[in-house]
């Protein structure tokens, strides 16, 4: 009994020391939506950077480029931990801020923790490119990105709106919704989605009616579109020994766009005018 009290006292004092050393956070849960700003490099150094890489385990990311000052806000919530020994008080791990580093022209944020769920709200200059990886679970939401965007989430949804640059998106267990602008289709893009045990979880992608693209589709389900030029054109089914896909050209063809939904339908929708 005394031994167990001493152990719990030592654990609590270690936790208090960690809390004292760790800036800008509390040892208890951080209640949302209270966010804290990450200390970014100085303006001169920031001007020399053009790519943001984000790595996280349990992480929700929101990106909205800005013409104003850059800022990155973060929030965190300790994930519930259960103690193996039932009569000890559950100690929540202290919440640490995401780490930030610079390498060549890249700004790198690591929010890697198996006991903390992070939230990042990122506002950087419009021309930046983004590489986002969520290894555990979390959603990725972007709006108005002009540069290249590569993102994959192990378990979570990906929503990309008003995307002006090419994309490579993978939701290993989640839903993807994408709106591409005409300029995004000048290069090669690929979107892969895999969600749910049952089918009928659709990959929805909105394209401008006047865009030019060469589209390849692999869908477990069907392919639908409300774009007028597709109403009169039947896609070609290209068959190989082990797999086949549908291929079609939008307005005569252009940049390559590969769409895969391993468990459901693909819907190619006509984007509303901006």
């Amino acid at each position: 009994m005394i031994f167990r009290l001493l152990v719990s006292f030592r654990i609590a004092s270690v936790a208090l020391v960690l809390v004292a050393l760790t800036p800008m956070q509390s040892s208890a849960q951080v209640s949302l939506p209270e966010h804290y700003p990450l200390a970014l490099p100085g303006p001169l150094q920031l001007e020399s950077l053009d790519t943001l890489k984000v790595y996280g385990d349990f992480l929700d990311i929101r990106i909205s480029p800005t013409k104003g000052p850059s800022q990155i806000l973060w929030a965190a919530q300790a994930l519930p931990q259960t103690s193996v020994v039932t009569n000890l008080t559950t100690i929540e791990a202290p919440v640490l801020s995401p780490s930030l580093s610079v390498s060549e022209s890249q700004l790198i944020i690591r929010a890697e923790s198996e006991v903390t769920r992070y939230y990042l709200d990122i506002q950087l200059p419009e021309s930046w490119q983004y590489q986002l990886r969520v290894y555990g679970a979390g959603d990725i939401n972007t709006i108005g990105v002009i540069g290249k965007l590569t993102a994959w989430s192990s378990r979570g949804n990906i929503n990309v709106l008003e995307q002006a640059g090419p994309v490579s998106l993978t939701a290993m267990d989640g839903v993807v919704r994408v709106q591409l602008l005409e300029s995004a289709l000048s290069g090669s893009s690929a979107i892969t989605m895999n969600y749910g045990v049952t089918s009928n979880s659709a990959l929805n992608i909105a394209l401008p009616e006047t865009a030019r693209a060469t589209i390849r589709v692999q869908a477990y389900g069907g392919l639908s579109s409300d774009i007028p030029s597709f109403q009169n054109e039947r896609p070609n089914r290209v068959e190989h020994d082990y797999s086949d896909y549908l291929e079609m050209k939008l307005n005569g063809g252009g940049g390559d766009l590969t769409l895969r939904n391993l468990k459901g339908d693909v819907n190619i929708l006509r984007a509303l005018p901006q």
């Binding site: 590489q131 990886r133 290894y135």
Partner: protein, 169 residues
């Protein structure tokens, strides 16, 4: 008829008697053969030389064109290989799309690079595009042919599971 013709006719008449007219008229049916022309004897080696020169020119042009094509092909292959090894996933996606449109024989030359991209890429879409090419080339025919992926564990599991779903066991 001229006077000369009359004299000739009289000579023929003296010789042939009543048959002279038949013979004389027959002579008029056929055209007078054109005089013989002298044929200049060409030196055979000049003709042969001209032919050889023409053939040499054609051969030289063909050789230059072939060399140019080979150089273009080598440059294209080098360009493709460099872009395959890019650390930018979207550059890799673009070059994989380009390779998909090449003939099979040309695609076979990129198999080592395709395997490297498939095993090391951190982008699932790049891996799936490379995998599709390797399956199409019949380099990978079953799950047993799948190499060990260097990518993060969950990504590797996803790619392996996707292979089974798209291509069977």
């Amino acid at each position: 008829m001229t006077e000369s013709d009359n004299n000739k006719l009289q000579q023929w008449q003296d010789a042939l008697g009543d048959d002279v007219l038949v013979v004389w008229q027959a002579l008029d049916v056929y055209e007078t053969p054109s005089p013989l022309r002298s044929i200049s004897v060409r030196k055979p080696w000049i003709a042969f030389g001209k032919l050889a020169a023409v053939l040499a020119c054609v051969g030289l042009v063909s050789l230059l064109q072939w060399q140019s094509l080979q150089q273009s092909k080598a440059l294209r292959e080098e360009n493709i290989q460099l872009r395959l090894l890019s650390r930018d996933a979207l550059v890799q996606l673009a070059v994989l799309s380009q390779i998909q449109n090449l003939p099979r024989e040309a695609t076979l030359s990129f198999v080592p690079q395709l395997m490297h991209v498939f095993t090391t890429s951190e982008d699932p879409n790049v891996q799936l595009s490379a995998l599709e090419l390797l399956v199409r080339l019949q380099i990978i025919n079953s799950t047993e042919d799948l190499p060990t992926l260097a990518s993060e564990r969950r990504q590797a599991q996803f790619i392996n599971a996707t292979y089974k779903q798209l291509y069977g066991e």
